[in-house]
Amino acid sequence: MTLLIALTLFVLAVFLGMELISKVPATLHTPLMSGSNAVSGITLIGALVSAGTDHSTLTTLLGFVAVVLATINVVGGFLVTGRMLSMFSSGGRKRS
């Protein structure tokens, strides 16, 4: 990727993110935040490459710790978001 293409992706994704989020009702702000937080754990795929590459002990160690931290972020983030959202929907179902 050239720098220009990378920057293009960056800017377009920022605009897209703003469009996607700006109309979310306040009720969903907490699950939205924890869910989007889980998505930011995408850095995990970089960590996997660092941990699995046979370069030096230091880079493998850094990669391993990064995999652990990012996985906590991803797995914990999606699970806890699901937990919160299940409470929202069950409340809705009981009334209707």
Binding site: L32, G52, I72
Partner: protein, 460 residues
């Protein structure tokens, strides 16, 4: 197709899933599916990455995935809903920390191979700085919210913070000028880490929603800049989507508190203005009431609005409030909740706490929805909220909270305020609402007071 092509296509699929996932999270009905789409996108991305040719040893990698999944799952299942802000802060911090380590490892590899260029060095320096500030800032926010440490500002904090910022910027410049000396990179990480601590340590509890939203934006941004280091489009896209959403939430929180981001991070509460004397405001005009009297007023009401504040969560009164709502509904009284954007410790926190108590989200109205309805409301019950219902924000341009958007509860016919005492809220100012003609004060613990009212309603 080569393995690299398969990975690229899979990353595109993952990016699309993330976009639909975030879109889904925007509506209550589609939110659970949105979350699943996001998780599927992550799974696709992980599986595609495992095809990468440069991965030669899967043992370390699997060990990391297993350990991380176990810790993440335990944290997610065990957490209480009241502790959600600190958990999200912690996860944010871990994401930021992972980005620093990924950028560090990748930077070291490229330096060893002698292939480093300015673009990569700049991206690595940015990731290190943003990521490590996210990590240590989030850990401080976690410690403060969990109340494991009572942290506060100290003398010379501002100076130290400025010094650290200069050191961090200087180190970042040196990373770019002289990338082969990797010591600069680690100096940058160290200085950035201290900067994150110094930047968050003095921020008060009321400002936590802003801090968490901001750190959320930072964790996304760190993932995005890590994408520039790794030359990975999926990291750039997903990271900036999250970064943008974090920025928007930060903006919403700042507007709701009438505070600029600068004030939250650098200043304390606005100090200007004349703070009225509490005795002068309250005098002997405060009317105290009993649970029985409140029950009598509620019985003849047609529409009741409940305004919860963080005090409700502290008193663990969510379920008691739900009982009150059901008792009133059974008696034919319409009940809705009016929720200020900063009612909890993070954006939307109060809604989650009430949803946990099985209160339908359709009954949870935000400020813009509920404010026009107060004039047609018979009784408004304020529980554990103070500054967000203080009419001084509207009427007194000299007040520290002047201009802050508030819930106009004083427009309803009767206001019942359930509160332990006449003590001030975060803003430290008296609230004329408590002494207003239509206001009755029900002093006591939030949970007990609400249960007393329910009992009185059932007995009558």
């Amino acid at each position: 197709m080569s393995a690299a092509d398969v990975t690229s296509v899979a990353y595109l699929v993952a990016a699309i899933l993330f976009i639909f996932g975030l879109k889904g999270l925007g509506r209550p009905r589609t939110a659970p599916r949105g979350n699943l789409l996001g998780a599927s996108g992550m799974l696709v991305a992980i599986l595609a990455t495992l095809l990468d040719r440069s991965i030669v040893d899967f043992r370390v990698l699997v060990a990391g995935l297993v350990v991380g999944s176990a810790i993440g799952a335990v944290l997610a299942v065990r957490v209480q809903m009241t502790e959600m802000p600190q958990l999200v802060a912690l996860f944010n911090g871990f994401g930021g920390g992972a980005s620093v380590l990924v950028a560090g490892a990748s930077f070291l590899m490229v330096v060893d191979e002698g292939l480093v260029d300015n673009q990569l060095a700049i991206a690595a320096a940015l990731t290190a700085l943003i990521g490590v500030v996210t990590l240590t800032g989030s850990l401080v926010a976690f410690a403060k919210l969990q109340e494991v440490l009572s942290l506060g500002g100290f003398r010379g904090q501002g100076v130290l913070r400025a010094v650290m910022a200069v050191v961090a910027v200087a180190a970042a410049v040196m990373v770019v000028v002289s990338p082969a000396d990797t010591g600069w990179f680690w100096l940058l990480v160290g200085a950035g880490g201290l900067l994150g601590i110094l930047g968050t340590v003095a921020i008060g509890g009321a400002d936590m929603p802003v801090v968490i939203a901001l750190l959320n934006a930072f964790s996304g941004l760190a993932a995005s800049t890590a994408g520039f280091v790794l030359d990975n489009p999926l990291l750039i896209i997903a990271g900036s989507l999250v970064g943008a959403s974090g920025v928007i939430l930060t903006q919403i929180m700042c507007t709701s508190m009438n505070r600029s981001l600068f004030d939250v991070v650098f200043g304390s509460m606005a100090t200007g203005g004349v703070v009225a004397d509490a005795d002068e405001v309250y005098g002997d005009r405060v009317t105290s009431t009993s649970a029985e009297e409140v029950a009598m007023i509620l019985e003849v009401a047609e529409r009741v609005v409940i305004v919860p504040g963080y005090g409700l969560a502290v008193a663990q009164a969510q379920h008691a409030v739900r009982d009150l709502m059901r008792t009133l509904n059974d008696a034919g009284v319409e009940v809705v909740f009016g929720i200020h954007p900063v009612a909890g410790r993070m954006p939307g926190h109060m809604n989650v706490l009430l949803a946990e108590a099985e209160i339908d989200y359709e009954c949870l109205l935000d400020m813009d929805q509920v404010n026009p309805t107060f004039a047609q409301t018979d009784v408004t019950i304020v529980i554990g909220a103070n500054d967000v219902v203080n009419p001084l924000a509207r009427t007194d341009p000299d007040s520290p909270i002047a201009g802050m958007p508030i819930l106009n509860v004083d427009e309803s016919r009767t206001v019942v305020v359930i509160k332990r005492s006449l003590g001030a809220g975060f803003a430290g100012i008296p609230n004329p609402l408590f002494a207003a003609d239509g206001t009755l004060m029900l002093f006591g613990d939030g949970k007990k007071a609400v249960l007393d009212v329910v009992a009185a309603l059932l007995n009558s």
